[in-house]
Amino acid sequence: MLWLLFFLVTVIHAELCQPDAENAFKVRLSIRRALGDKAYVWDTNEESLFRAMVAFSMRKVPNRETTEISHVLLCNVTQRVSFWFVVTDPSKNHTLPAVEVQSAIRMNRNRINNVFFLNDQTLEFLEIPSTIAPPMDPPVPIWIIIFGVIFCIVIVAITLLVLSGIRQRRRKNKGSSEVDDAEEKCENTITIENGIPCDPLDLKGGHINDVFVTEDERLTPL
């Protein structure tokens, strides 16, 4: 009799947990990809840990606080490692709705990942989309801060250069206007020949060099 009951129970269990069964989810683990040399072997102990985590997640859902580890059924464990699981209600006759299981797993996804040292990509619950953490968005975009700094520096540098240029020109103008006042308006140019500045032509008045006497005065007039 007991044997028959046991048979019935396993048959029911087998029916409840099957690939593509109602309310069943497929899980896929990539332990070696995640951990490399430190990868652990997936055995029945790990399986019971997994069932415990699922039960823990379900217990956090209101009205499901009585979920036990034995209510979580695993089946079709492959070498991959992948398997299917379902969560049954206390009567073990039917499975809990997929929506509840999905929301429970989503809320505790981080804890489940951490227990197995995996992440969303290496511990996959197919058909349960993971909530991707949005990238940190600072209140003021960083690039504007740097832009503002460089912009101000450039503006200050330009203003300094322009002002110094104006000051230089004003000084040059004042200098040249003093000389201008003494003469008529002609520019003072400094010609540079072979790197040696020549003195500007003295236009104030000519000096007659007496050494060079004009031809007319030498010769006696006719």
Partner: protein
Amino acid sequence: MEKVRPQWGHQRQFVLACISYAVGLGNVWRFPYLCQLYGGGSFLVPYLIMLFVEGMPLLYMELAVGQRMRQGSIGAWRTISPYLSGVGIASVVVSFFGTIYYNVINAWSFWYLFHSFQDPLPWSVCPLNGNHTGYEEECEKASSTQYFWYRKTLNISPSIQETGGLQWEPALCLILAWLMVYLCILRGTESTGKVVYFTALLPYCVLIIYLIRGLTLHGATNGLMYMFTPKIEQLANPKTWVNAATQIFFSLGLGFGSLIAFASYNEPSSNCQKHAITVSLINSSTSIFASIVTFSIYGFKATFNYESCLNKVILLLTNSFDLEDGSVTASNLEQVKDYLASTDPSRYSEVFPLIKNCSLESELDTAVQGTGLAFIVYTEAIKNMEVSQLWSVLYFFMLLVLGIGSMLGNTAAILTPLTDSKLITSHLPKEAISGLLCLISCAVGLVFTMEAGNYWFDIFNEYAATLSLLLIVLVETIALCYVYGLRRFENELQAMTGRALNWYWKAMWACVSPLLIIGLLLFYLSDYILTGTLQYQAWDATQGQLVTKDYPAYALAVIGLLVASSTMCIPLVALGIFIMHRYKRGDTAPVA
């Protein structure tokens, strides 16, 4: 009364200014592309031949003209022959187009530079979609780097007709870029002479750092071997030679008038022959050096993508057949595939269409040039390096410095003729002239920050300078040799520098270079005519890739206007001066 012409503080500044102008973005993003496309190591043969036959002579000619005439391009060509002042004006017009569109690249470099200070780099992750369950669709279809470039930086519209609005972020960056350029050219050669120490030397520092980093990357040797294995059969392809000639021509920046402007601030006795050889050799070796860096980065990126592709295939097989995790590796992939095909043919045939054929060759074959290389391919490689923020900052800083160095030359080409003219300098100080130029160029350049701006940028990049420069330099060479007289110029050069003109330069100037340029012109014209309608690449957001479209009529009109406005200057001004002379001669009565 001659006003003292400003001079370079030291000969070194002149050489560095020429290097800073010639070594620009083209060395980094065009030469590696051409090298890859036209036979790898064997492309160096036509490149070096063209350097000696075309690049050096023409560079020497421009420097000699500038140094002899001691004026900007308009004045210099007016001295050679009054009918040819149109050549100078055409140079200024082309330089003006160049300054307008080139600084937009600096704006983009600023944008990327400012965004490099984030962790993670914004182009390494896709943004999330509305309900946070996945990534943005456009980003998924394309890649995160393409998404960042086309959507976040350009916010590009699907076609050139949809102009869209002004994007304030690139506009701000453009304004900053122009302020930076203004800061450098504010005081003329006095400030430019100091800035070029920085703009000429910094890119080399960054390239050396990148060379060391690039060569130590995993997979770099794949790229280098791919690039340098010569494909000798490409030497028979005429396009190889044409592209080598074109690359030398545009890489040295001939015809813009910048070189004439720089040389006009030289001492008359300086040895411009030595400078010409130095600058052209440094320019070409920088191109080759930059392509080594680029190809090691290419190799890294291609290997990375190839290995990711393999990993995806392995994952697909492992998941579909529930094999043990880690049992399939890159080395036994083929055997596993055969085994699965034989043991489980039905399931294998289901999975087979999804298996991509990963090939390192095809990854390396994706030849990219221009902004695509700099802002998409390089960023993709950088995001996979460790400490990617540092590499990103270095790289975009280098791009920025290269771009500003070239901008200094472009603006000098416009400002030198303006400051030479007594009419303008009597009314405005040179700071105001530079400021006005920067303001006008910035205002017009805001067109390129609109949503369709990148399409207009491509128009300017392709058509504003290419044909016009070839024509300008052709007229320059013929004018110098035959209108002014090669012998006369030779005597003047000898009197000026104290060195005789080598027969080689005379032969090149008189026959070989003009013939080469005529050949290039004919090739381009026939190419334009044969292709018929002109097309462009538009970004399709729904597919996440580029599609080819035809230019609308008004875009073609703009292209025609760009080319005509510079080339027509030469005949129109010549005609105008001819008419003026006839009019004057007709007016004055002949003296008995």
